[in-house]
Symmetry: D2
Subunit: 324 residues, 4 copies
């Protein structure tokens, strides 16, 4: 199920080591100014190359293949494509027999009966999120002036991300982290009843990002230790401003106009250089596996802009629905 | 958006103080034995009446209105209805002007332009989850022999739930809690790629349950402090058994056959007897609001069976999809 | 798949001889005045009892079970239920072994593996269209001031419907007919590109009505004999009025503001009193089958209001989408 | 709404004179052998160049951009792209002010508020059906051994298509026609109840093909003159064979295993060289419009393979659903 959204409806496709990855966005309103440069800033934030990220560097040049004319969206489906250029696929075949711990090698093998493209995790690669980022750029325009900002709260348990990266570098191991996402200038009334609520919409998008293991809105897991008299956010203005924001900006699945706030946890990158134990599916014997290649010691570093994109995509769909 | 699911597709309806609440389930396989008694056990687990729950007691008798014949599902839509019998709606009108903190009074007012049924929170009432529980009963049959069990880990920060309830009783205040849900006997290969992954599917259902503020799978937020070498679950059998289960039974959105494990946090019940501050939307003045009526001091007590239902519904849809 | 629509989303349920039939309508805008009397006129047009229709008379009293409060729609799902009262199910079991020609006995047996409710065709009964008519009443309010009117063009090849009915009455046989449906006061710009065009939307709803075998828009099958210079509708006003209306009010799947016009053909009622040949599925022998019971000699008589409903439902969904 | 299908779910994109057109197919089963040559035969049947078709000749080379590996489908989305190479867009701007009769210039202008790409009808071009044909090739593999064959019954009212083309050639005018589509080797039990029936599914796809004005199944409009005793297809074998096939292979929306048969009418091509009357939307004055460029005198000639594709796509979705 590679499609999401009722109005702003996106379909992703592509593989890590195939011809490229891309996304089709349907339901984009007409008349939005859009050109390929508009994607640069968010794409560069997702890029690797910095300390703690993989040295595989892709140019990540977005090509708008349909849906714009004379620099504006036309109302027709918007397709953005990213060619794969820096591909090395030497040795992924072995993971079909000796699945990497933490990866989808085993489950994609079951699911796709051995036909999944194994190169660079194929369609299960984090590279697929390029399309999400591209859709996020368009979604941010749709929901303007809402402003979404995600930032790292801690990495590897350290609230000093740089120090955490320094500590992990060179160990061959990896760390995860916690990222907070905040949307300001929020309109009221976004969110559909029950299954279409804001938390339901955003969480289902967020869990599509590889490596996310949890999400909490507002007070989140901290709410478990609070009393109702502490947790309830008092209304302090007729416009809906609240004194506290334990709700994270959402009541009954619908935005109240206060900041939308949530946090996610990113697990430590599954690909590590340290030898690991796994099973050989053919021989049934335990083997030691070394995952070579180029890895992110901390994939969480690259997640914030993807998280913003997922949030923007969800809000854009709800925003368009709210016009009805 | 009161409909969920691609194959096992459910549509909920109803209000807390209207004629009743119910659910239509489409895509139910034919030939499943089903009668009204089958709902009793799960419905009784959701019931109020115990210490810490509201004294409003509804009979909650399910009526199968369509979709079965001679005690078996027919393949036609299955409709289950619950009549409302014990309704007191004296005094909800005032919440339209002085919205209750923590409730959807304000946001539903915005969203539905003043036309939302305010009685007992109307369509935003937790009573709507009766339909979910009913669908959960059917879903559990569909995914048999998968066994889903949710239980309370802690209430109000106390890992002794009874003590926590004793402490809150009579204070007029409320507490929340953390609930863990585990599915055993899991088949492998459930989950669709990207937007249709297991975590995405379950989280979007779980956040439809009122009062849920967060969800984490497997290691969850604890993953933020782990290293990859600790977090990766080593494969130890060709059947896919892993040594640890930090993944919570899911890799790349697809089940690996190990137990599916996740936890949710339930906020403290918003309805409390303690006076609270709110705004009068008409006068613009701060007022003190006392929410009378019958409340749950700890709604988390009634959530486990609803959580099981949400899980079963999501898994049933993925299970049916996996047959293709 | 008993659900239709992206915004005005309806879910039908029920069986001919079960507890009743009904419909859940999601996405109904708030604030529409609605009470049970509003359904009377359209329901009475669908009723049987007139010459050429079955003598089975149901009271067809609609009950609004959710979604309204104080006489207005609330934005929550609207459920309308019709109890079955006049039910005789003596002898449907035999059709499982000796399927009636023209009916769904055989195919529903295959599809639902013998579990389909056979009584009165169960979920395949024309009685299910009661829900459609109810949704049509709501849809007509949504798209007001659009006016939809369907009328019979011919029955049994005779452009005098009364004469046609007189001729068939008492023969034990049945006739079909052609019905034209016209929507006036049409807004421009309804219809989504490609798969969501007006013709695609309406046709998929219309073919859900039992007994419909074909549909043609504007010039329809007559277009096969025309030249482009005749068929093209010249634009004669900047508001989009055309000189002719061979397009039936739709270009490229999108309404042009001229009348929406289409015709459907209704096959002769499959239930006839005349003995028919069929196969006994168990013995493999040809048998003579007499379908007793109460039948419509011409079901087409009851179709116009159902056709209006299907049209209104489709247009309502497109109308709500066009607000985005 | 450029997406269709619940399981075999396709998303089209592209414009006539942009970078290209394409399609994303989600839900393709794994392990289907597929390479670019597999598309050749159907694409060549859609091609122009023959008498009666436009002299604009595109190479129409399909590029599989994702979803296959080592010559088999992987279960990931399959994207097929067709570059536009032979593009001349000199003079489409004028149609925004003086809309062509029979075309979507006027309605797309309204719908997309003046932002639609006007070049070669943009996203409303028949060129978009290239993606449908590509999806049809895959769909035909999915439903094998079902065999679908469409052929022209008559063109311009003449049952000798060649003569019809000879007569229209050089006149600057255009003709339409009637095409029959038959699927043999049909499995029983395809089709979902009510809104997901075979006729509903196929008709909604077929009306997405530009220029289709009507569709009829089995006896079609001829049923209006028949009696039930003539129209009912007697069952003559326990396997579901019928003596006649007035039903067109479908009862109650579900296939009965007999041939699926339907006919469509294609209107005469809207683009003609003969001068036509239209309105100037800016001046409000009637003008004479001459549509220059390269046209099909009879677009119906190119429709059969597109019709087969639409049929295969619908059946593939229903076939995959039937596995559940």
């Amino acid at each position: 199920m590679n499609t999401f959204g009722r109005i702003f409806s996106i379909s992703i496709f592509g593989e890590s080591h195939g011809k490229g990855v891309g996304i089709v966005m349907d339901g984009v309103p007409t008349g939005i100014p859009l050109n390929e440069d508009d994607f640069s800033e968010d794409l560069s934030r997702r890029k690797s190359g910095a300390k703690g990220t993989t040295p595989r560097i892709e140019s990540d040049l977005p090509k708008i293949m349909s849906g714009t004319w004379n620099g504006f969206t036309t109302g027709a489906p918007l397709m953005v494509f990213f060619e794969n250029t820096n591909v090395r696929s030497s040795d992924y075949d072995k993971f079909r027999d000796t699945p990497r711990p933490g990866h989808a090698d085993f489950t994609s093998g079951v699911k796709f009966k051995g036909f999944a493209d194994p190169r660079g995790s194929g369609h299960f690669s984090g590279r697929i999120t390029l399309g999400l980022v591209a859709a996020g750029v368009v979604a941010k325009k749709i929901i303007s002036p809402v402003h979404i900002q995600a930032h790292i709260l801690e990495l590897g348990g350290d609230d000093n991300p740089e120090r955490a990266i320094d500590n992990i570098t060179g160990t061959g191991d990896s760390i995860g982290g916690i990222i907070q996402c905040t949307a300001t200038n929020m309109p009221q009334g976004l969110g559909e009843p029950f299954f279409g609520g804001v938390e339901a919409t955003i969480s289902s998008l967020v869990f599509s990002i590889p490596a996310i293991k949890g999400i909490e809105f507002g007070s989140g897991f901290g709410a478990a230790k609070m009393r109702g008299s502490q947790h309830n956010d008092a209304w302090i203005s007729p416009e809906g401003k609240t004194q506290t924001n334990n709700a994270g900006g959402v009541n009954g699945g619908i935005t109240n106009g206060n900041d939308l706030v949530f946090r996610v946890v990113v697990k430590p990158t599954s690909s590590i250089s340290i030898p690991q134990q796994t099973i050989n599916l053919k021989t049934g014997k335990i083997e030691t596996l070394t995952v070579e290649g180029r890895h992110d010691a901390c994939i969480a570093l690259r997640v914030p802009v993807v998280l913003e994109a997922a949030t923007a995509i969800g809000l854009a769909d709800l925003f368009l629905l709210s016009k009805i």
